[in-house]
Symmetry: C2
């Protein structure tokens, strides 16, 4: 097999997050589903922006957050996603490259870079309102074969099932990766996304996915079970590795008969945005660095704890130093 240039390559919706605080009453008044990711159009995005309080702009996008985390840990990381030729596109491209991620920005001429208005309630939960913008123009042609085949693992976000062309990009990337003997990882993204595309996700996990990331709600939505354990018993038959997160209850990593129960790292929770994304970053970094599954899970927990201790979905601390201090890398 050829040498790899990257440990992890992510493909996802390239978004800038617009973070603001809101109370539960605001969510109710504006018909915003708490804890979910809802797609909105440009008009609704502008209307919502007119109602929210002062905000902070910071690069986001689920897979992009993960890839930024891999790079911060010292992994060789690359990202494919689409932004527009505007100020938010500049911010996105700057931030991901500044983290050390390989990103060949193909800019959509005209239009707006996608952005996600994230409302953080006092319980630190986030409700996301995504205007996909330029990210919807991601298509199979944007999947650079040389990059995909040069990554140990490619990492795809379930949200890519929303823009129709992105799904083709998704399958093309998975095909190239497997052809080159690489592995394909997927995060289910959110339970509402799973509800929208359950049959497709079930088929995908069974046929293309080597490493699955999901939280309890997503996994139970995927297999329509009433308990987490029931879903766990199903998923272990479906893909090589499943890394299943349970918020404060930690995570379960299952790989055939091997199973690990990993504690959550303690954190002062400020904003849960990016918890799953950074868990995946830590796991994929550890896995591609040749760590055992338990250690990869512990690095994952450490990264998730860091990102929920501040506002924003990208790491602020030196994750590599934190992991070293704990003897994990």
């Amino acid at each position: 097999m050829k040498e790899t240039a990257f440990d992890v390559l992510g493909i996802g919706n390239a978004l800038v997050d617009v973070l603001a605080h809101a109370d539960d009453a605001f969510l109710t008044e504006n018909d915003i589903e708490k804890g979910a990711m809802t797609l909105i159009d440009a008009e609704a995005a502008n209307a919502l922006y007119g109602k929210i309080g002062p905000a902070v702009e910071v690069s986001g996008g689920s897979a992009a957050n993960t890839i930024a985390g891999v790079a911060t840990l010292g992994g060789r990381a690359a990202y494919i996603g689409k932004v527009a030729d505007d100020a938010l596109g500049n911010i996105f491209a700057h931030d991901i490259k500044a983290t050390g991620v390989h990103f060949e920005a193909t800019r959509q001429a005209g239009g707006d870079t996608g952005h996600c208005t994230i409302l953080v309630t006092p319980d630190a939960q986030r409700s996301m309102n995504t205007f996909l913008g330029a990210s919807t123009t991601l298509c199979a042609d944007d999947v650079a074969e040389d990059q995909v085949s040069a990554a140990k693992v490619i990492y795809l976000e379930g949200y890519l099932f929303d823009p129709p062309k992105a799904r083709e990009a998704f399958y093309k990337a998975a095909g190239i990766a497997h052809e080159a003997g690489r592995e394909v990882a997927l995060t289910l993204s959110d339970s509402f996304c799973v509800e929208r595309y359950r049959a497709e996700f079930q088929h995908l996990v069974e046929t293309e996915i080597d490493i699955l990331f999901a939280n309890e709600d997503e996994l139970m939505a995927l297999y329509q079970t009433t308990t987490f354990d029931d879903a766990l018993q199903i998923v272990r038959e479906k893909c090589s590795i499943a890394a299943l997160t349970r918020s404060a209850a930690g995570s379960i990593i299952v790989c055939g008969d091997e199973i690990h129960v990993i504690d959550a790292d303690k954190a002062q929770v400020v904003d849960t945005t990016g918890a799953g994304d950074l868990y995946a970053a830590g796991f994929l970094y550890g896995y591609t660095a040749g760590k055992d599954l338990k250690t990869a899970g512990q690095i994952a927990s450490l990264c998730a704890a860091e990102v929920i201790s501040h506002v924003g979905a990208r790491p602020e601390a030196d994750l590599k130093a934190l992991a070293k201090a704990k003897g994990l890398i």
Copy 2:
């Protein structure tokens, strides 16, 4: 005297902050004066952006931060400053209005909204690199006489002495305010700014300023003294009220023979950006609400402590609730 519509009206350079972490070596390599505000042009701003790490975009501008703080405390606040018709201009206008500030954005056609690249070093100090952009087009015509004459206090930032037309706006506003029987407050902004315009500032303080905000370095630069106490004895002869900040050593408020020594509120220091701005917010809110000088100073200390406990120069907590909990309002 006519009824007032506003407690405080601020006039300043309207900027969006681009916040990133950096170490001291980075400052040295890039000839950045630690702790100072340095003016840079568009080219230098772009070059610097290409070198810094991932950043967070958040509305800033010294007087704008203060005015946002006044509004967060429940004061009636207005702001005058100039942005361009671009994405950063939208962010600035949204955030200040969302805080409850009256802001009639007059947008410069073309050009870029000014932004300040703030590098936060591990000691929580900030070094500011300001590209003034559209904020330099603020001129006397932008000073709305009806707004200025309707504010109990107008608040001006020393940074306005950098763009030449803004200085005219500054004097026009002070003239209107005094004509209407209002008070004029000034912050010296930074010691390098004072060095650039020492004679003008000395004249201004003596002739136009009722309430002066300064930190130790700025005050000592203004009067070229070697000790804080020497400068204090001079300033008390020059303007009605001086509110003088001394970082962790708290602040001194002097009004003729009345003098108060106010303790700093304890804070876990994350980023000192905005400390002086929010101190002024707390003081001006208390002062215009009819509180005594000591109480106004205590509100000021509380606001400064809040803003240095997180990244960014605008308050994130409910300052009004915090001040109420301490029995200050």
